[in-house]
């Protein structure tokens, strides 16, 4: 775990650091953070519990326990990562462990949105590239990687790979507008207008 990680803030265009590989498809939120750790009124302690059950089973051999992976910030996964429940505890646990970006073949939708809302970009690339990236990290080195969102590239000191991210989320991150609450509140007058036209909040008076 990172000592006192600083959380994402404002404009996010680049994430540098070590990579960590987590192989397997359909890794669900119950695995990322087993349900018994959800009993908390704050997210603070979740980082230590990330992948708790998997880690117990692997007795120190789990990627999140290997010493070379400590302080890693870029997580490389396979397909449909984060499927399962809508609980934000899963991205929160990853965030608090130190993860700042995730690269995979595909992501579960709610998980993807929850990550974005925390300032964690989830970017995608092809199955072949993911395998190559994972092998490169595990066989060569996991040090000195960078994910560049403006160039849409993942790089190590020797080469780079193209990555993809949908335009909407990408713009939110690079413009620093992923803090969505303030954006929503800016439209307060329009919210009031909407409330006025929704039939069930207006006695079902037939719309002319």
């Amino acid at each position: 775990m990172n000592p006192e990680p600083s959380f994402p803030l404002g404009i996010i265009t680049q994430i540098r650091g070590k990579c960590i590989v987590m192989r397997g498809s359909d890794i669900d939120t119950d695995r990322i953070i087993p349900a018994r750790f959800l009993k908390c009124v704050s997210f603070q302690a979740l980082g230590e519990a990330v992948f708790a059950d998997d880690r117990t089973q692997l007795k120190g051999e789990h990627p999140f326990d290997l010493s070379k992976n400590q302080n890693a910030s870029i997580l490389i996964v396979n397909e449909n990562f984060g499927c399962g429940s809508s609980r934000e505890h899963a991205p929160q646990a990853l965030l608090r462990w130190g993860i700042r970006a995730i690269i995979g073949q595909s992501f579960a939708e709610i998980f993807y949105g929850n990550c974005l809302a925390l300032g964690i970009p989830c970017v995608t690339t092809t199955e072949a590239d993911i395998l190559q990236i994972q092998n490169t990290i595990n066989n060569d080195s996991n040090e000195n990687w960078s994910l560049n969102l403006t160039e849409l590239k993942l790089k190590n000191p020797y080469r780079s790979w193209d990555i993809k991210m949908n335009q909407g989320p990408l713009e939110m991150l690079i413009s620093g507008n992923w803090d969505i609450t303030s954006q929503l509140l800016n439209n307060d007058k329009k919210i009031t207008d909407t409330i006025k036209k929704v039939p069930y909040l207006n006695n079902f008076i037939p719309i002319k």
């Binding site: 349900a35 059950d53 449909n80 579960a108 929850n114 609450t181 929704v198 909040l201």
Partner: protein, 470 residues
């Protein structure tokens, strides 16, 4: 792009504006909150000095962490107690209606909102829980959100959302005896897969769906999320209106006609355009049971478990993982597999009709020795109605425990848990590794009747045979 569907109509009505990032700002008509995903959201708005924008459109209850044996306060588990205290304080401070233990209306959030008539056609409904899709049974657009979105809804009663595509799942025919909504949805997820719904809303339609009661429709929409679809819905019809009429929060007599007319106008048009459509025959569905670690790994009770070779190459790795975790042999039969624990409850199958169906099987019978079996009604109202009919007595005399309402062993955030590698026959919705409270615990999803049948024999078996002997 879809047009003329219920989803399109409800979406357009609730659209506040388009946001710079390309998402739509969507108004949320009903916001349901509970103790697990709301505390951090409340702290977040307080840190920013914000208030709850529409406290009247926000409803709270406590379900995930409540113990089901002794509910007296303070709870034995101090963390659970702290979560409930936090929720109570937040509701009080922000003027939010809270249905607590003993109010008569406490229960699983997706059980109580329909029960109270809060869930209505044409609404947008959000809750920090993925099974919010349940409310789609009424022709609402209902979806699960994460804690930061709970914060957004508390602060603004709106959300940033991207419009989904719409897939119509047309179910022909009708379910045969001993086959339930749970079997239908497990069958659909098995056919389409757990990822097929990503990016889609599922409209469930067709003769087999129209015949279903509201409670059965809720079972279907509840599990849309297990098929990857963030929301699932069914067009409102006379069944919907009959269920709603007279409920405490339903439109009053004077408004009823206007309400019904509006609701009817929301149903997908005859000429609606869907992004995709699949047709499935419901009459050939048999009781269905999951054997693996995703809700898509289901088979009919008549079948053998798949062999690795018989599976699509993409499914092989997860199947291998499932066989190893479940300690099952490819090609073996699911019927006859011994079970240790039988659980009837959850927002999928913890309603009155579910308990009635299971009690019908259990009446006058005893559960097998060595099996631990318990019923957790979905809400205080379900419990009360069931007790009025004497269902609690049927369950108890059969050897089931009759518990207090809550989520219980659906996700085991309370004391109800599997231990070690126990196998449970469960009427809940998720069979993920470790879901039921033990990191090696194994879950077989099935209908409440099938759980009852498994309890009697101590092994998975075809409930239809018991129907014949009754």
């Amino acid at each position: 792009m879809s047009s003329g569907t219920l989803y399109d109509k409800v979406w357009d009505l609730h659209r506040v504006t388009e946001l710079p990032g390309g998402a739509t700002q969507l108004f949320v008509g009903l916001h349901l909150i509970h103790e697990v995903t709301s505390p951090q959201a409340f702290s977040a708005i307080e840190e920013k000095g914000l208030k709850v924008r529409c406290p009247k459109n926000t409803i709270a209850t406590v379900d995930h962490i409540v113990p089901t044996i002794n509910q007296s306060r303070p709870f034995e588990d101090s963390l659970a107690e702290e979560m409930l205290l936090t929720l109570e304080a937040n509701c009080k401070k922000h003027g939010i209606k809270f249905f607590g233990i003993g109010s008569g209306s406490q229960g699983i959030v997706h059980v109580i909102a329909p029960e109270l008539g809060l869930t209505q056609p044409g609404m947008t409904i959000a809750c920090g829980d993925s099974h919010t899709s349940t409310h789609g049974a009424f022709g609402a657009i209902a979806f699960g959100i994460g804690t930061s979105q709970v914060r957004d809804v508390l602060a603004s009663q709106t959300l940033a959302m991207t419009k989904l595509k719409v897939r119509r799942i047309w179910l022909n025919g009708k379910l045969s005896d001993g086959v339930f909504a749970k079997d239908l949805i497990l069958h659909v997820i098995r056919l389409l897969g757990v990822k097929a719904g990503v990016g889609y809303a599922y409209e469930f339609a067709g003769p087999a769906i129209e015949l279903l009661s509201m409670e059965e429709r809720m079972t279907i929409c509840n599990m849309a999320i297990e098929g990857g679809a963030r929301c699932g819905y069914i067009n409102p019809d006379s069944t919907t209106f009959r269920y709603l009429k007279g409920r405490i929060n339903a439109p009053s007599k004077i408004k009823w006609k206007d309400a019904v007319n509006w609701w009817l106008s929301l149903a997908s048009d005859q000429l609606a355009v869907f992004d995709d459509e699949v047709k499935i025959d419901a009459s050939s569905i048999a009781p269905t049971v999951t054997w693996g670690i995703t809700p898509g790994q289901g088979i009919s009770i008549e079948e053998q478990l798949p062999t690795i070779d018989s599976l699509d190459p993409n499914e092989r790795p997860i199947a291998k993982e499932a066989f190893a975790y479940m300690k099952l042999k490819p090609g073996s039969s699911i019927s006859g597999l011994p079970v240790d624990v039988c659980f009837i409850g959850s927002c999928t199958n913890g309603r009155l009709s579910d308990l009635q169906a299971a009690a019908k099987i259990l009446k006058g019978k005893k559960i097998a020795s060595g099996v631990k079996a318990f019923v957790v009604p979905g809400s205080e109202k379900v419990a009360k109605d069931a007790e009025k009919e004497g269902l609690d007595i049927i369950f108890r005399s059969a050897g089931f425990e009759w518990r207090k309402p809550g989520c219980s062993m659906c996700l085991a955030m309370n004391p109800d848990k599997l231990s070690g590698a126990e196998i449970s026959a469960s009427s809940s919705n998720r069979n993920f590794k470790g879901r039921q409270g033990s990191s090696t615990g194994r879950t077989l999803l099935m209908s409440p009747s099938m759980v009852a049948a498994a309890a009697i024999k101590g092994e998975v078996n075809d409930v239809r045979k018991m129907l014949k002997t009754n």
